[in-house]
Symmetry: C2
Subunit: 303 residues, 2 copies
């Protein structure tokens, strides 16, 4: 592979590895329980490896997983119809945080760099929140923080990536979104070294916007009380989160199908989830208000 | 469609509808709580309908769903590459019972008849159990009851359908079976009216073997006590059940992809499930013994 790309591999890997440390350190402080992330370093049989970090049964976080990986090897058959077998390199950070309180949204973020031996390379990523109760101020703050990070690089990014996020995190069999979105992008490629630097700078800024986008939402709600009924609703909604991840999420399905590290992939699933037959919240309730916003995506910030 | 097949449609539909009544009545008695199945009759927008029956929060059963359907219409695109659009008719019964006690296995059964307007028709089905703690006597009883029903019709059925079951209910990304099996068969077709009658008689006997195969297992364990730790293990194992159903089960995925009735399809999911990072039971524990049998399928009855 070209020197430019080798250099990007190193820069991307370093960015994501550093972010894993920054994010887990900040989350430990935010959790406030003194519980530390459990850290497991693993190797991939066919090349590379990763570091899986998990915090369970904290004060704020019932289950939080932050995974870093940098893997390489033969590209899976699904990408591999060329006569010369493709090689790939992929590095990324992926996290899902499931707070215990139904007043705090679950959040997901993933940023990644992918490169093939035929010269193709791209970035993908994004972050999105899944509230159990809608708080418009939270939604606006989350989206505004991401928009500010996007706007610094390209004014078309936020509107494109916000729409992409709404389309991607959609649970077709429920006809509803997983949550209230954020940004999502994939296959962002650069045409030349200057563009490549700009793209990297954007991905770094978007990834660094995760903590300022999410942490104030946790701070606002972490000391709020909640009822058993609210907790019950959260567990039912978490069932939908499981449905999205196992039925639709491309990263999850690709990982499971290509013999990825199951424990690191399924770290995204909540500690507890519930399913009941045909539940419908009472009209006019806060639960019904959440369902309404999941069925009709909104613009949270002025474009 | 030919008269023979029209007649088989009626016979199969009647069999499965009657079975739904027989099974739910027996389960209500077995549950012993006085709780009755909630019954919802539904219509399918594009033809036919069904009856979904759910018992939640019983004495024995934390969540039990028994679904009957008889639907018809245009075959989905995945089956439909002919120039004349195929029509289909499908009827079946499908059930999943999740007992509250970790000492009682979860059980699944499904029997179905499928017919296409090009003349093709077949039966499919089976039943399998998923224990949380291995009880060899239960396993032998379940398999022996099914083998007896199979042997009455064809001595090759049980060995073929037992192996098919082990292969089908396999969670590849965990490298383990969903449970300890039973029987599974699909695309069983008849060549002539006499064979068709024989096939129907076999399916009816296999489906009628469900209650005698499962009920004595419930009876044996329903008054056993269990610990919080055993309940916790059950919820973790139920997470694997969710993984199988959402990632691999063809009926579930086909239903979700073809705009099936989501609530009836996902009735199979447990009331509560748990996921934790990288759990391994202590060597020599009953939990480890279960994992061992899920990794290496056994012959439970003499062939």
């Amino acid at each position: 592979m070209a020197e430019l790309q080798a250099s990007m591999r190193i820069r991307a890997e370093e960015l994501f590895r550093t972010l894993q440390e920054e994010i887990t350190s900040a989350l430990e402080v935010l959790d406030g329980s003194g519980t530390k992330f459990f850290r497991e370093t693993w190797e991939r049989q066919h090349g590379g490896g990763g570091i899986t970090m998990v915090l369970a049964e904290g004060n704020v976080f019932e289950k939080a997983g932050v995974n870093f990986s940098a893997v390489h090897g033969d590209a899976p058959d699904s990408l591999n119809d060329a006569s010369v077998p493709l090689q790939f390199f992929a590095t990324g950070i992926s996290l899902v945080l499931h707070p215990r309180s139904p007043k705090i949204p679950t959040v997901h973020a993933n940023f990644r760099y992918f490169e093939q031996s035929d010269g193709a390379s791209w970035f993908g990523g994004g972050t999105d929140i899944t509230p159990y109760y809608l708080d418009v101020e939270d939604a606006v703050h989350f989206h505004q923080t991401l928009k500010t990070a996007c706007d610094k690089h390209d004014l078309t990014y936020y509107p494109r990536f916000k729409t992409w996020c709404d389309e991607y995190f959609f649970i077709r069999h429920r006809n509803e979104s997983r949550g209230i979105g954020g940004i999502f992008f994939d296959h962002l490629s650069a045409e030349n070294p200057a563009e490549s630097d700009q793209l990297f700078a954007f991905v770094a800024d978007a990834a660094r916007a995760f903590l300022p986008a999410y942490m104030p939402i946790v701070e606002r709600h972490k000391d709020e009380s909640y009822t058993e009924a609210e907790r019950h609703w959260q567990l039912l909604r978490r069932g939908r989160y499981v449905e999205f991840n196992l039925v639709y999420d491309r990263g999850t399905r690709f990982g499971l199908e290509t013999n990825g590290r199951t424990e690191s992939i399924l770290m995204s699933l909540p500690a507890v989830a519930r399913w009941e037959y045909d539940v419908h919240p009472a009209p006019g309730s806060p639960e019904a208000a959440l369902e309404e916003v999941l069925r009709h995506s909104r613009e949270w910030v002025r474009q």
